[in-house]
Symmetry: C2
Subunit: 322 residues, 2 copies
């Protein structure tokens, strides 16, 4: 293994900054575990002056992605721009230049999974994306490695922290959707334009990725029947509660008796005894049923700079190891 | 990668039989995923005649472990004998003969972790043991791979299905310890001699393994302060319930303010809102807190032939791939 792994970072927004900070915080632990140093050599970012609460050498910044792709010393490119383009094109360019790629970008993966995985294979580089679904929860590694001996029959996920926060507050405090959404926006748990979250599009991107990994079936996000939570009322929540249930925005997929695989995103009644029913506020969880392992659940923080950084840096370490 | 991976299986009890059956059940899926065939070539087992509910070629059986260690075509040895010896010596012999080893044996690992990991390193072979803690739950892969960028501060585990079944029944049905233990023995959830489970020794073995992986600290099982559940009364459960708590047998470890790491196994009051409080009956779960990922929980079946087989075969696939 190389003594020093050089990294090109695409994007220094909240997630990029969190990744930079988490690497600084745990550098000694990571480098001891790995037996190699990690160096962020270039950062593609326009906003050089923003106060990110951490000192970053201005010489690291570039506004030209070719600085990264054409640098033969760069081993790994971390893509944290978000959005389908230019992120997809940048990842393809990086892999064609022989760089491994780590990304947290569910939209780009859901839209272009074949292109990205084929490009990785053709150029004999790794493409890893643990952070793209469930943030810091190590579920993609588990599905693609430890659980490989299973044929799966069912998948249920709470995969969006914003909507789970809103539904939890409506349920726990008996409040209305609009009021809780406004509070979530004020607290930074929901974006000014919450459409992608509350209408379920973010979850559909994540379910699209999971469909490929869990069931080996490619379904584009636009082909997943998707209903969000914006029409859920206080009365809906109260009615579910009176029947011993909670309402959760679930990504669901299952194998039908005739071998088809159905999937959808919709608000769903869950019995309060179900393992997913207690997943509250900004937490995410994935429930899986495999024919050897039986019922499994993974639970943790599905978003946020540090949990996402945990997954991104875990992928970088896995690449560096081997 | 080789076209066919040849396996020597040590032990064809309940777990060995489950592993054999799970491989047969999912062979097509596993071999397609892997791009190679898996062949069990020899089985070390004295009981050739027992009805295991599956046809096994009698020519596979051997009563001489050297048949496996001296066979140059064997790539992987799966150790499912249980107990510290002769399992440890057999694993050492297999690794010295250049075979990778997969084991579910928490007692041998907890007692001899340095010997086993050093032998693997010296002979340039892999030693994998996902099944040894938490059965089918993919937590060792997660801790040693995806979560590598974290420094952990806390670990709480429900790691024994027998005791969790007994405590769940006592709690849900208001029954006494002796009565529920007897029922668990009749149903096969508890052994005729339940000491290792109910007195916490099984959990101490698993916590010993986790201490090395999560905190990098070696603690022998006998050095872990351990209290079981045999003294828990109906009144204890009722008192906890009246305070909004349940009693769980927890493996606990945490980092103290001065940087020490404490660990113990004992019945513990858990607030009913804690993610571990809802883990019922034979299910296991591990709660971890990392300084990047924050709170995480893994939940699933911690024992049983098929869940254990899921982890064992996942390890075999990982070795075959890499």
């Amino acid at each position: 293994m190389k003594k020093e792994i050089k990294i090109g970072l695409l994007g220094l927004g909240n997630i990029g900054t969190g990744t930079y900070k988490a690497l600084e915080l745990n550098r000694a632990h990571i480098e001891e575990t790995l037996g190699a140093a990690l160096q962020i050599k270039h950062i593609l970012e326009k906003d050089v002056t923003r106060d990110r609460g951490i000192a970053i050498d201005p010489a690291l910044f570039t506004q030209d992605p070719a600085t990264i792709f054409d640098d033969p010393t760069i081993d790994v490119v971390i893509e944290l721009l978000g959005g389908i383009e230019p992120a997809t094109s940048f990842m393809v360019s990086a892999m064609k230049a022989g760089k491994h790629v780590v990304t947290a970008n569910k939209a780009a993966l859901a839209a272009n999974l074949e292109l990205l995985t084929n490009t990785a294979a053709e150029n004999d580089v790794k493409l890893r994306y643990e952070a793209s679904v469930g943030g810091g929860i190590p579920l993609i590694g588990a599905i693609t490695e430890s659980l490989n001996a299973n044929v799966f029959s069912e998948l249920l996920g709470i995969l969006n922290g914003t909507t789970n926060y809103i539904l939890s507050k409506m349920s726990d405090e008996g409040r209305a959707y609009d009021e809780v959404l406004k509070e979530a926006q004020e607290k930074g748990f929901a974006e000014a334009d919450p459409t992608a979250d509350v209408e379920g599009h973010d979850v559909a991107n994540k379910l699209s990725i999971l469909m490929s990994l869990v069931f080996g079936k490619r379904v584009l996000p636009d082909d997943i029947p998707t209903t969000g939570i914006s029409a859920i009322t206080k009365d809906d929540i109260a009615e579910a509660d009176s029947q011993g249930c909670v309402i959760k925005l679930l990504a669901s997929a299952y194998r039908t008796p005739d071998g088809q695989i159905e999937c959808f995103v919709q608000p769903t009644w869950l019995n309060k005894t179900h393992p997913l029913a207690g997943v509250r506020n900004e937490f995410n969880a994935l429930f899986l049923k495999g024919n050897a392992v039986d019922d499994l659940m993974f639970y943790g923080k599905g978003a946020g700079p540090f949990p996402t950084a945990s997954a991104v840096l875990g992928d970088v370490i896995a690449i560096a190891r081997g």
